[in-house]
């Protein structure tokens, strides 16, 4: 940018120099443009455009000062009129003239000064470097959950923060029209304060319920505001897509620890765990159990194979156990059935497992085998002795 200015300067200045070359050979004049908060260095002098006071009236405000000296001059200049600073160009000072005022930011100026001060060189003033006092808003639109299923309630938080250093005025939220995929409950459309001081923030919350499944593009939220001068700006949050999953369902798992074989006449414990590994509560859980063949060879002596629960929350599990007694050996099959509801829909789960009742152990049966063998062995040995000569 500066290079371009420099080039323009050189082009404009060249003819002027030629014209004033003979004039007592001591002063020169050059033209340059200036913007508010810009300055030029001419020798030890500094010329800074403070403000365009009025384009219509052709008035500007400049500050001229000299390095390493007491000289400093604030002045409002009228265009097309020469103004002498530090006694003017003839006395080693400056003579400045506003050539043209382009707008309330940029002017064109001519300076006359001693030849040996060199070319005017541009710089940005300290004031120009200092931050501007403007409001700046940032907007955020956020869902309180990312995992959304049909029937889920979502809270949308809209946050607006002024990160600028001036008050934002006329703050207005433009939220998109209601999305068809949601049913809006409360707080819509969101509203926030109309003025936000620097660092101040405000937020609005509204809630809605997902109605249909599928992908939804959540459009950006636009906020418009005005600065002190009435300039209007706007920002928007980023848009994003969410996926609405199908309705959440409960899913009951019936887990039965394997029942070790039951000794004849002995008992075994059946431990049943009802786990809801679905995403919704299961209601009115009714569990029933039975064993087959129902020949009375196995019976529940403590607890029950069935149970009811009003609700089992997702992720939760319930436990119960029943003690069975096996009075006839055989292989039995136990079946446990659970009926439960969710949103008036009745669901069912079933699990079957085997219970083995062992044969009656004949504890001293081996005697029946061993005894005759012993007797025979004894008999044979006796006979052997009897006939051994």
């Amino acid at each position: 940018m500066r290079l371009i200015y420099l080039a323009v300067l050189v082009l404009l200045i060249a003819p002027v120099m030629a014209g004033s070359g003979d004039d007592d050979g001591e002063t020169t004049s050059r033209e340059f443009s200036l913007r508010v908060d810009e300055g030029v260095k001419i020798g030890e002098y500094r010329v800074e455009l403070i403000n365009v006071v009025s384009v219509m009236d052709g008035l500007i405000e400049v500050k001229v000062w000299k390095r390493v000296s007491e000289f400093e001059d604030w002045r409002v200049m009228e265009d097309h009129r020469d103004s002498n600073f530090d006694e003017g160009a003839d006395r080693g000072g400056l003579t400045l003239t506003v050539v043209e005022i382009f707008d309330d930011d940029t002017i064109r100026m001519r300076a006359e000064y001693r030849d040996d001060y060199g070319y005017p060189r541009k710089y940005t003033t300290e004031r120009g470097l200092a931050p501007k006092n403007l409001p700046e808003l940032i907007v955020e639109k956020k869902f309180d959950r990312t995992d959304i299923s049909v029937n889920d309630e979502v809270k949308v938080t809209v946050t607006v923060k002024n990160v600028g250093n001036d008050t934002a005025r006329n703050v207005l939220i433009f939220e998109t029209p209601p999305l068809s995929q949601f049913r809006y409950l409360a707080g819509y459309p969101p509203k926030i304060k109309s003025q936000l001081a620097p660092k101040e923030s405000d937020f609005a919350v509204y809630s809605m319920v997902a109605v249909t499944e599928g992908e939804v593009l959540v459009p950006a939220l636009v906020v418009s505001y005005a600065d002190a001068k009435g300039n209007i700006a706007s920002v928007s949050s980023s848009s994003f897509t969410i996926n609405i999953k199908p309705k959440r369902k409960p899913n009951l798992d019936l887990i039965v620890e394997p029942v070790p074989p039951i000794e004849h006449g002995g008992t075994g414990v059946i431990n049943v765990t009802v786990l809801n590994n679905g995403e919704a509560s299961a209601y009115r859980v009714e569990i029933k159990g039975e064993t087959t063949p129902a020949d009375g060879g196995i019976e529940v002596t403590k607890g029950s194979l069935g149970k009811t629960y009003f609700e089992i929350a997702p992720g939760a599990s319930e436990n119960y156990s029943a003690t069975v007694k096996g009075s006839r050996s055989g292989n039995y099959t136990a079946t446990i059935k659970a009926n439960y509801q969710s949103d008036e829909v009745i669901m069912q789960k079933e699990v079957s497992f085997e219970i083995i009742v062992l044969e009656r152990p004949y504890k001293y049966l081996y005697f029946v085998l061993v005894l005759p063998v012993l007797l025979v062995a004894f008999w044979i040995f006796r006979r052997y002795k009897e006939y051994k000569y």
Binding site: W379, I380, E386, Y387, Y389
Partner: protein
């Protein structure tokens, strides 16, 4: 019930006794003694006596208690003089061993006629038995040698039989190895076959004597038969087979020389006889029996008959004593000849030795 004592003396006697014990077990297998019980028809005590312990060890079916070794002897080497001395030296011990077994109505003493131990012990033993048990009947069962077994055996047989007759046995039953060996090939099987035959007959006989059924023979009848003729006889036996279960032919067969333990012609040489018939009732036609027995008794002297009703095909045992025994005479002739030859051989040897010694008669050893 009869009290029967069976004594086997010497190797031959021991082995026949063992065959009897085996037969009492039901016979067939070597292992029968491990699972079976002896089924003697009466109270039977057995005793094997020998001077050679190895002969006793060889036995299989005679219990260890029933084997008596005459101490300090290792056989007598067919020498009857040594044998007799051995008996006298150990007489008390032997008789004690028998006495332990109680009282007896009848005793069988089984021996070979030709060995050393059996042939020398048996007559002395029988003598002692008759002394000790007043009412006992003692029957000797003597096994005659193969004729080719040698001169000493022949000589022993001749003398031992004479000894046997002198001690007044109640009878001698002859078993002739020479005559019976024809059936079998090698000696070992011949012995086994002969021993089994004897065992079967003796047990059958005891059973018949001790039977309480109608029309049976008893010990008295048996003694009468055995005292007949020369006081020695033999036993015949026949078991009808399914093809010809005829009773008449069974009886006939039991008298045929081929079914006797000692060769003889019953119809010509027998003095008294006893026929014991056993079998299922349907085979036992009394008329047939009577006819056959009458035919026999018209040829020889008295014939006792016994009928034992027992399930099975007809079995006939015949016991008889002989009036004449040409075979025996022949054997004695052979024996005499053998003794003479033995004597000559000895003399010849003696003379030869004397002749040899004559060379050094007047000489002395010089060193």
């Amino acid at each position: 019930m009869l009290n029967v004592l069976i004594i086997g003396v010497g190797q031959c006697g021991n082995r026949i006794l063992d065959a009897i014990n085996k037969e009492a077990f039901g016979g067939s297998t070597r292992l029968s003694k491990y699972y079976s019980r002896q089924k003697f028809p009466s109270r039977v005590e057995t005793l094997a006596i020998n001077t050679a312990v190895n002969d006793l060890k060889e036995l299989r079916f005679t219990s260890a208690n029933d084997r008596f070794h005459v101490p300090n002897l290792h056989g007598v080497g067919a020498n009857r003089t040594v044998g007799k001395q051995g008996f006298w030296n150990n007489q008390d011990m032997i008789m004690d061993e028998i006495e332990k077994r109680g009282d007896f109505d009848i005793a069988f003493v089984i021996t070979s006629a030709s060995g050393g131990t059996g042939s020398s012990f048996s007559p002395l033993l029988i003598h002692e038995l008759k002394n000790q048990y007043k009412n006992i009947s003692v029957i000797g069962i003597m096994v005659l040698p193969f004729r080719e077994e040698g001169s000493i055996y022949l000589q022993n047989a001749a003398f031992s039989m004479r000894d046997m007759m002198e001690v007044e046995t109640d009878g001698l039953i002859l078993v002739d190895n020479q005559y019976l060996k024809r059936a079998s090939g090698d000696i070992a099987t011949a012995y086994d076959n002969i021993n089994n035959m004897v065992a079967q007959r003796i047990l059958f006989l005891i059973e018949a004597l001790d039977n309480e059924m109608l029309s049976v023979t008893d010990l008295g009848d048996f003694k009468t038969v055995m005292r007949g003729g020369m006081g020695m006889g033999t036993i015949g036996f026949y078991q009808a087979d399914k093809k010809t279960p005829s009773l008449a032919s069974a009886i006939d067969n039991s008298l045929k020389p081929s079914n006797l333990l000692y060769p003889s012609n019953v119809y010509e040489e027998a003095a008294r006889a006893m026929i014991i018939i056993q079998g299922s009732k349907k085979y036992l036609d009394v008329d047939v029996i009577t006819t056959v027995v009458e035919k026999l008794s018209s040829n020889i002297g008295h014939v006792f008959k016994g009928i034992v009703v027992k399930k099975g095909l007809p079995k006939v045992l015949s016991v008889f004593t002989l009036e004449q025994a040409p075979e025996l005479e022949q054997m004695y002739a052979l024996a005499a000849q053998a003794i003479q030859e033995e004597k000559n051989r000895k003399n010849r040897s003696k003379k030869q030795l004397d002749d040899a010694f004559a060379y050094i008669e007047d000489l002395e050893e010089i060193y």
